[in-house]
């Protein structure tokens, strides 16, 4: 059986090679999407849950104020004049990169108001930075990425050195760990104007309803701004994530379908070409299972190299993403296991039509002259 398979593959190198490439592409795509979605989704929600502000105000064009800045001097005054608002604080959120002892990594700078909402962040150690000092707090996910980083060390951000005074827990925003800076320091380092902000966090007075404040603020600010409660922000992100997930799942589904069809066509063509050969094998006493194994093994001969190549390329591409985008990519054994199951599934599904045809071959074909 091995001899038949070996000889059969060597006769069809080109066709099988093309199929292997197709499967490799499917697996590559699958791994990249898995790596991206896993890193992005998991980290973003953890940050939202860790933010305790009741109402978020952001310019309408931004996506809940994440990753951009907006300048309007009177915005914060307008928000604070709404009934029931106890305080408001501007926040800057921008992706950046940090460096220490030659190790570079992506970070998300969060510039917050000293004494504001972010001051209450859960700390693993130390404290949050204070106004006027050249200080930063980093999330423990950044410490994991920069071995040896601890309170008292300095880290370079945008060419400027800041001293680490605390380590926070659960702030891995947009797939990159958060580095907290006092907002003016953040504006200074990021070269922003003193009125630039990404969003405003609003705290209601005791007994005031966040939902009512959000409604009133929205009325006052008009459509130029988006005002949401924390629950609405989370719900919106969940909704957006589910759209993105659906699109990604659709892309994965289509690529699997294409992969399955490529294997199906390759295997079916191979079976059609080998009808007489299968007839001879059956005449010699091969059972349907014996012939089926030949077909399945041919499918696996495409799927297994495709899986290995796809895993290598997929992992390579996924792990290279942080070099060009401010994202942190984490890959785990489960992703590779799912890729392996997917490729084996594709090969078995793709082999089904060929298997059916092979099982239908009548051994009498061997005795007929050609």
């Amino acid at each position: 059986m091995r001899a038949i398979l070996r000889a059969d593959i060597s006769r069809k190198k080109k066709r099988i090679g093309l199929s292997v490439v197709s499967i490799a592409l499917v697996i590559t795509l699958f791994l990249i999407i898995e790596a991206l979605s896993g890193s992005f989704f998991n980290s973003f929600f953890s940050h939202l849950y860790n933010t305790k502000a009741e109402v978020w105000v952001s310019p309408s064009m931004s996506f809940s104020g994440i990753g951009g800045t907006y300048t309007e001097k009177s915005l914060q005054d307008d928000v604070e004049s709404v009934d029931g608002v106890a305080s408001s604080e501007p926040v800057i959120t921008l992706p950046s990169r940090a460096r220490k002892d030659g190790i570079r990594t992506n970070v998300t700078i969060v510039g917050f108001a000293d004494g504001g909402e972010y001051e209450k962040t859960v700390m693993a150690s130390g404290r949050m930075p204070r106004r006027g000092n050249n200080e930063a707090a980093v999330d423990e996910s950044l410490v994991a990425r920069m071995p040896g980083l601890k309170t008292g060390n300095s880290v370079v951000v945008m060419g400027r050195s800041v001293k680490i005074v605390g380590v926070t827990r659960g702030h891995n925003l947009i797939a990159a760990p958060v580095m907290f800076l006092e907002i003016n320091k953040a504006r200074d380092i990021l070269d922003l104007k003193s009125t630039d902000l990404s969003y405003i966090l609003v705290q209601p007075k005791a007994g005031a309803s966040g939902a009512i404040i959000a409604r009133e603020t929205q009325k006052r600010l008009g459509r130029k701004y988006r005002v949401q409660t924390k629950d609405e922000v989370i719900a919106e992100w969940r909704r957006q994530m589910s759209y993105i997930t659906s699109v990604l799942n659709f892309v994965i589904g289509i690529s699997f379908l294409i992969g399955t069809m490529v294997i199906a066509v390759t295997i079916y063509t191979s079976v059609i070409e080998r009808v007489r050969e299968f007839g001879i094998l059956k005449a010699l006493g091969a059972t349907n299972w014996y012939v089926s194994r030949l077909v399945i093994l041919e499918g696996l001969a495409i799927a297994v190299p495709g899986l290995i190549i796809g895993c290598l390329i997929g992992a390579g591409v996924a792990l290279s993403i942080p070099l060009v985008m401010p994202m942190d990519i984490a890959m785990n054994a489960g992703m590779f296991l799912r890729a392996a199951l997917a490729s084996i599934g594709i090969s078995i599904l793709g082999s089904l039509i060929g298997l059916r045809r092979a099982a239908q071959v009548d051994p009498i074909i061997a005795i007929r002259t050609v």
Partner: protein
């Protein structure tokens, strides 16, 4: 002992039924060189296919070691073919991209027999192909291919050897060599055999000669002791 009792087979040719094998009974003894002759369309190959369990008869029994195998399922029939029947085809039916040795071992592999390499080499030596074991089948002459096919048919020590026009694609010299080879092997190994042919030379050396006409079979000659 292999036996057929009352075997009949009809084919439907575009709505018209034709009885290709008509109530044939046949008992084959080990070591006899049994040959069936007859004109084209007389039903010889159909009879051989039924005996080789490649075709199901419409009626009748086929007894292997006194067990009727007609009602068995496809996989059971396949197992009997691999373990008890050796086939030699007119077209040789070797897998052209395998070597001579691999082609012989293929039948053992199908039967689930392991460790048959020595036997295969011995058989190939017996038929004069010991020096060609690593040659691909498509590098062999017609006569050599048929010898490989004979070795493949014998690798599992079958109790029945069936041959369909084994000299049909060979020149006179090779045909003669194959006839001699088959006859000697059947006698030496005491195998039950049935060959169908147009070749008068095979008919001449048959221990038992049958003639088939319009689906009916009649023994027309038995050698002394057969």
């Amino acid at each position: 002992m292999v036996e057929m009792r009352g075997i009949s087979k009809k084919f439907d040719w575009g709505g018209q039924e034709s009885k290709v094998v008509d109530d044939v009974s046949l008992s084959l003894n080990p070591g006899d060189f049994n040959v069936v002759v007859g004109p084209s369309g007389s039903g010889k190959t159909t009879l051989l296919s039924i005996m080789g369990l490649l075709l199901k008869p419409d009626s009748g029994e086929i007894l292997f070691d006194e067990n009727n195998v007609v009602g068995l399922g496809q996989n059971d029939l396949a197992r009997i073919r691999s373990g008890k029947i050796g086939f030699v085809f007119q077209e040789f039916n070797l897998l052209e991209y395998l070597t001579t040795l691999e082609n012989v071992l293929l039948a053992a592999n199908i039967a689930g027999e392991k460790g048959k390499k020595e036997t295969a080499v011995k058989l190939l030596n017996e038929v004069g192909l010991g020096h060609r074991i690593n040659n691909l089948a498509n590098q062999l002459s017609g006569g050599e291919k048929q010898r490989v096919a004979i070795c493949r048919a014998l690798i599992n020590d079958p109790s029945l050897l069936l041959a369909d026009e084994p000299t049909g694609n060979l020149d006179s010299k090779n045909g003669h060599e194959i006839i001699t080879l088959l006859k000697n092997l059947v006698g030496d190994k005491n195998i039950t055999s049935l060959l169908v042919t147009h070749d008068q030379r095979l008919a001449d050396v048959a221990d038992v000669l049958y003639e088939m006409n319009d689906g009916r079979l009649a023994a027309i000659r038995r050698k002394k002791g057969a």
